[in-house]
Every structure is written in C-alpha cells, then in structure tokens.
C-alpha cells in the first residue's frame, strides 16, 4: 500500500493547477459560459498540446498511455477550475466508447484526431422520455438498402453544437441498442443549444431521415448497451473526479470567505454554526476524495470496479450537492450573485449529478449487485 502520488503525478497536478490559474480564471469561465460556443478553441488547443486530450489513449493512437489515476488528477483540476470544455464529452464519453468498441481504422482515425485536439465529439443518448437508463431508448435506426435511416430527437447531447462527429444511440430491429457514428453536418441533422443551468453545451439534436452507411457503427449492431455500460463505469469515476475537485475548491473558497467576512465583530468562521457547516462539508469532500483514489486504483489494477464506480458516483453526487449548497449559504447574499464565483459550483451540482446516472440509479445498481453477489471477500 502506498497512498502518495508519484512525483510525476504531483507534477501533473501542479502544472494543471498552474495552467488553469494562469489561463482560465473564473472571470474567463463566466465569459466563456456566455459565449455561443461555450468553450475557447485556443485553450482547447493548449490543452491538447499539454497532452491531456490524449492522456488516456495508447501511444499507437496518438495518445500518451497514461494511467486512469493520471486522468483523475487532470479532471480534479478541471473540476476546481469549472473549466468549460468538451473534455468529458469528447475524451471520456466518446473516446472511451471508440477505444472499447471501435474498429482499428476508427481508432487510428478518430482517437488520433481527438488526441491532437482537432476532433470534438458528442454522445447523443438521452431522449425526452428516457433518463440515464438507456435500456428504454426509443429512437430507431431502420435498416434500409446498404445502411440505416435515423429519425428522432435526442436531448442533452453535450457539446454537439461544437462537435464535428456524433455518436448516436438508437435501436436496430431485433439486434437492439446500437451506436452510430454520424457527422454533425450530415444532411438531416439539426443541432440547437439549450439554455442549461450550468451553461454547459447541452444540445437538442434532431435527426430527420438521416441516411448512413452500414459501417458507420461503433461495435456490432446490438452492442450499444454493453459498450455504454463499460464506458459509463469509467466515466462515472471520471465525473466523480471533476466533482471531487470542485468540492475541494468550493471548500477552500468558502473557508477563505469565512475567515474574512466579519459580523458581530468577529470573522463568521469563528462561529460554531459556520464551523459545523464547514466540518460537515470537509468530511463529505474527504470521504469522496479518498474513495475516488481507491476506485481509480482499482481501474488501473484491473480489478472489477463496476459496483464501486456506482457507489463512488452516488457519494460524489451527494457530497458535491451538499458542499456547494452550504458553500453558497456561508457566502450569504453575495453568494447568490452572478458576480460571485461560488455559484459556478452550485449551478453544476444537478447537471453533474445526473450525467452518469443519478444518485438513486447508482444506489439501486449497488443494491442489485449486493443482492446478487454479496459484499464479497473481506
């Protein structure tokens, strides 16, 4: 057992922290949030040059063959910075799907372009009447001639407005849920950005008689659910990393405010009501953070981590929402303003909680796993 980061990982963390402090302070974040694109192409290119966009991919696909824990370290820093970027949609969701289910040709082509920062992708999965449980996706891909025709409307396709390729989840006859690669500018595809509480690029994507070839699939027809499952086990840990970083930062900012804000002749952080708020926030963040590293190590060590990924995401959902809500409260009225940075975290709490499965979804998954397999060896 060794619970310290390697010196390389410490360097990675420090350089990421420095990058965001220098290049993307909260003023810049709010400016980007209000822009139509919702991200900075210049910063995205810099992120690619730092190697973070290819961190997770093998060197043969233009990546760096980093560990999952390395990725977690970067994502924690992105969570601290509230960095508006297509990192999660492109690298974590689509990148992992391609890495897991793509053909050699797709990997060579798409992963190398993701790694060098030139390709942004979006996963179109949610529908008006399906939440994260993709088993109930209704959109159909009808076999026609030598390919498929897509018709339907997807919601919450993150970064579709800036993506050049989409991965679309749709049902194929008897085969079931399948994943399709569709160009964002393909005839019949229309994309509209939705006003979203976190100002992330949540999009509506409408498919009207979109004709695609039979090879425009990630994995075989019917492989969709398995591929999504595998991706989401890791993506849940990745999102938990972003949330864990956000919680730590929100606590740091709130502690600072509580030391500086004076009422009744004392800093409010001297009062026990505030102290106990903050102690509970720190406990919530620290339990989540330590569990995050443990699960990340399980991923790297090749252990079966699906149950723990769910347990972790649920813990991250609960702690992030708890911490960010208390953080605004400690700030008082100023915390509720657009001007104050703490609300950046508060506005992300619900979207982040939902994106890889809600708290209830994950507790159910944990419980089902316990009922089936027991707690496992002590």
């Amino acid at each position: 057992m060794n619970l310290d980061f390697s010196s390389e990982q410490t360097m990675l963390r420090d350089s990421a922290a420095k990058f965001f402090a220098n290049e993307c302070n909260y003023e810049k974040v709010k400016h980007l949030e209000e822009s139509e694109k919702g991200y900075s192409p210049e910063l995205w290119q810099k992120v690619a040059e730092l190697g973070w966009t290819g961190l997770l991919f093998p060197e043969s696909y233009g990546g760096y063959g980093g560990s999952f824990l390395d990725l977690v370290i970067i994502l924690e820093e992105m969570g601290k910075a509230c960095f508006p970027s297509p990192f999660f949609s492109t690298i974590v969701q689509c990148g992992l799907l391609i890495l897991e289910g793509g053909t050699e040709e797709q990997k060579q082509d798409l992963l190398s372009r993701i790694a060098d920062g030139s390709l942004i992708m979006s996963l179109a999965q949610y529908e008006a009447e399906t939440d994260f449980s993709y088993e109930s996706i209704t959109m159909k891909a009808e076999a026609k001639g030598d390919g498929y025709v897509l018709n339907g409307t997807k919601l919450f396709a993150m970064d579709a407005n800036i993506a050049s390729k989409l991965i679309v989840a749709a049902q194929v006859g008897a085969a079931g849920l399948s994943l399709f690669l569709v160009d964002a500018d393909h005839p019949g595809v229309s994309i509209k950005k939705l006003p979203y509480v976190s100002s992330e690029n949540a999009c509506e994507v409408v498919f009207k008689d979109v004709v695609i070839g039979k090879n425009d699939l990630i994995g075989a027809p019917g492989a969709g659910a398995t591929l999504l499952d595998k991706m989401y086990d890791k993506a849940a840990v990745a999102k938990a990393a972003e949330m864990s970083g956000g919680s730590q930062m929100a606590i740091g900012m709130t502690s600072k405010y509580a030391r500086e804000r004076v009422q009744y002749d004392n800093p409010i952080g001297g009062y026990q009501a505030i102290q106990h708020f903050m102690a509970n926030m720190l406990i919530a963040a620290d339990t989540c953070n330590n569990y995050l590293y443990r699960v990340a190590c399980m991923v790297d060590e090749g252990d079966d981590f699906a149950r723990d990924a769910s347990a972790l995401k649920a813990i991250a959902n609960e702690s992030y929402r708890f911490v960010t809500e208390r953080a605004v409260k400690v700030h008082g009225a100023i915390g509720t303003t657009r001007e104050c940075d703490i609300a950046l975290f508060y506005r992300r709490a619900h979207p982040f909680s939902m994106i890889c499965g809600s708290t209830a979804y994950h507790y159910e998954k944990v419980a089902q796993s316990l009922l089936k397999e027991g707690l496992g060896a002590f």
Binding site: M1, Y291, I315, F378
Partner: protein, 401 residues
C-alpha cells in the same frame, strides 16, 4: 499510489481471519452483544481475558510497538490489517486504553524508569487501563477540570471526582489528568499521572447505561497519595501530552470492518425476511438505503486507510483533522446502519434478547450504545470544531478552547 496488499500481508490477513473465526465459535452470549458491553460484561469479560492471553501468546497483542517495549515493530499497515480482522470478527481482547492510548503516550513522554516499569505489564496483557479525564463539570470543556493533585513532599495528594470512566470497574490502572497548579486556569497547570487502583483513597461506583449494562463508572479520589515518580512528563504540561493521547484515540479502519460485517448480516436479513408477503429486498426504499450504506462504508474505509497512511508516514500529528473526520464519520455511519436495520425490522427490531429478536438483538443494542460513542472520546461536535479549525483553518474565538 496503490491499495494492494503484499503477499505477506495477504497471508497475515488470512492467518488473523482463520484465528478469530475459530476462536469466536467459543464466545459466550455476553461477548456476542458486541461493543464495550460485550467485552466487559459478565462472561464476556472472562472471554476477553482468555482472548487477551492468547493474543499475547501469539505475539499480536502489541505487535506494532517497538521491540524494546515488548512489540515486534510491525509496520502500521500490518497493524491495520490486524485491527480490521479483530473488528470484523467482533473479537475482544485488546485493552484500547493501555495498548492504544496510554502506551504510545508513555513512549513519547515517560522517563526510562517509567517505560520499563509500566509498558511491559501492558504489553503482556497483565493490566487493564482506564482513562481519567471527564468530570461532572468538565465534559467537552475538559481543560476546565477541577480534580486537584497538590504537591506534598514527594507525593501529590489527589482529591476530586471523575465520571464516565469506561470500564473503570474492570481497571487496574488509570491514566489521570489532574490540576497540579491551582493558581492556573484551564490547560495550564494540569499533569498526567499513572494511578494504581489498589492505592487507598480511590472509590469506583457504577453508572448504569440506558440499556441496563455496566460500561461507565464514577471514580472518587479522597486524599489519594500518588508518588511523584508516577507523574508522566513535566509538571503542568499535562494538557499538551493529553492532546497527543487524544490523537492516538482517534483513528480506526476497524470501525469500517465492523460496519461491513453488520451490513453482511443485514443483507442476509433482507434477502430472507418477508413482510406482508414480500421479501424486504423487493422494497426499492430498502434497496436505496442499503446501497447508500454500502457506498458510505467503502468511502469511510478509504478515508480510514488514508488516516493510517498519514500515521505511517508521520503526518498525523500535523493533521489531526483527518483522525477527527474518521471518528465522526465512522460513529455516525454505525448509527445510520443501526437505525436502518431497526427500522426495517419493524417492531421485532426493538426486541433486545428474545427468540423473536432479529440478528440476536444486535442492532437495537448498537442503536443504544453507539450514541455513547458519538458523545464520548471528544463528542462529535467537539470533533467538528477541530475539523473546522485544523482542516478549514477557521479561527478559534475566545471561549472556544
């Protein structure tokens, strides 16, 4: 970073597990009540003493102590594996006060003569210690304590009343915190003493816990003469010594191993128990709560590992917030587990000792005793103050200790 156990550590884990599993088959009903009550009541106390002897014989009792004091310098993670095993199987034996708290304090502050005289009996399992801190008017505000130890030649004359003395009725010794300088207030003017309960002027009276068990005691000192050679560390420096002792008190991967065992029992219960024609596991609310408790248990365990790691690399004395967070989280999670279990058991969950009591009434037992743990050893509210001060850097205002 990795959480893997080495092959040797895996082998140790198996050895401890096999031993405790086998030994616990011989445990009397009193022991199976668990917790302090199980360890120190009736036949449970006899079993505790038997187990203590066996642990000493095995060389496990103080294995993490330095060789010179009777240990084998076992690395902290081996000790953590041991603590997890003993807690998971609910095995008694270790004197947490002597081995866990006072021993390490002696190693830091005692004279060579005191170390030789006091550490070996603890290491051999020959003595049971108790902690002499709280007083009727000095609970959370411990530093305001009033028990006096007034110098008279080579002796200190002790007068006063200590309360909430866990296992005082089984103890041979107490580590006492008393005021040696009556002119000084609060933390200044306190000293630590080793007290032998066979000395004159000490009276132990029981306090019944809410469930009728005998865990706590009052201890009265009346002109009890303590030789100066029993004072640990410099005179009037007892408060800073005690703060270190407190940190030895608060760690605990064992607590999460115990919770794991309880969740195993509860899981079996919901899988096999029907209510109104349906298995409990068919109720989505039951599943939600079970999923949550598992997640919290694993998150807490990861944090306890981190506390152990900080101890191992020598950081904990500089980051006591981590240990306080562990105490708060483990005790309150234990309470949530017991609350959940009692709730899903319905009225049967309230039976304490009956053939109708699910899981032998263990959950309603925990429900009653865990609140004591939440209050004792620095109440969780005091822990939250510490977490806020040390972990978040918030200021201590006047009057906050």
């Amino acid at each position: 970073m990795d959480y893997k156990l080495t092959d040797e550590e895996m082998a140790l884990k198996k050895m401890y597990g096999d031993f405790f599993k086998e030994e616990m088959k011989k445990a009397p009903a009193d022991t199976l009540k668990g917790g302090l009550e199980g360890t120190y009541s009736g036949e449970g106390w006899e079993f505790t003493k038997t187990m203590r002897k066996k642990l000493v014989e095995k060389g496990w009792y103080v294995q993490h102590w330095p060789t010179e004091y009777g240990g084998r310098d076992a690395p902290l993670n081996e000790q953590m594996i041991f603590n997890e095993s003993i807690a998971y199987y609910g095995a008694p034996g270790i004197d947490g006060f002597g081995v866990g708290m006072f021993g390490p304090t002696l190693m830091l502050y005692a004279t060579e003569e005191q170390k030789k005289r006091l550490l070996l009996p603890i290491a051999k399992g020959e003595v049971q210690y108790c902690q002499g801190w709280s007083e009727p008017n000095a609970g959370s505000d411990l530093a305001s304590l009033k028990t006096m130890a007034i110098k008279d030649g080579e002796y200190y004359v002790v007068n006063g009343q200590k309360i909430w003395i866990t296992v005082g009725h089984r103890a041979d010794h107490m580590f006492l915190l008393a005021r040696t300088n009556p002119a000084e207030k609060r933390g200044r003017g306190l000293s630590v003493f080793n007290v032998d309960f066979s000395w004159p002027g000490i009276e132990v009276r029981p306090i019944k816990y809410m469930n009728g068990s005998h865990i706590y005691n009052e201890v009265f000192f009346t002109d009890c003469r303590i030789h100066e050679s029993e004072r640990i560390g410099p005179e009037n420096q007892g408060w800073s010594i005690t703060r270190d002792t407190m940190n030895f008190e608060r760690s605990g991967a064992g607590a999460f191993a115990r919770i794991r065992k309880e969740l195993e029992h509860i899981l079996e219960y919901v899988k096999t128990t029907k209510r109104n024609g349906k298995f409990l596991w068919e109720d989505p609310l039951v599943r939600q709560k079970l999923g949550r408790l598992y997640a919290e248990m694993e998150a807490g365990r990861a944090m306890a590992y981190k506390v152990a790691w900080l101890q191992r690399v020598g950081n904990l004395r500089f980051s006591p917030a981590a240990a306080s967070e562990g105490k708060v989280f483990s005790t309150e999670l234990t309470q949530r587990v017991a609350d959940f279990a009692v709730e899903i058991m319905g009225l049967s969950g309230n039976l304490e000792g009956s053939e109708w009591a699910p899981l032998n009434g263990a959950m309603i037992g925990t429900y009653q005793t865990i609140i004591g743990s939440i209050i004792c050893a620095g109440s969780n509210e005091i822990q939250r103050n510490i977490i806020a001060w040390v972990g978040c850097g918030l200021p201590r205002l006047k009057g906050q200790g």
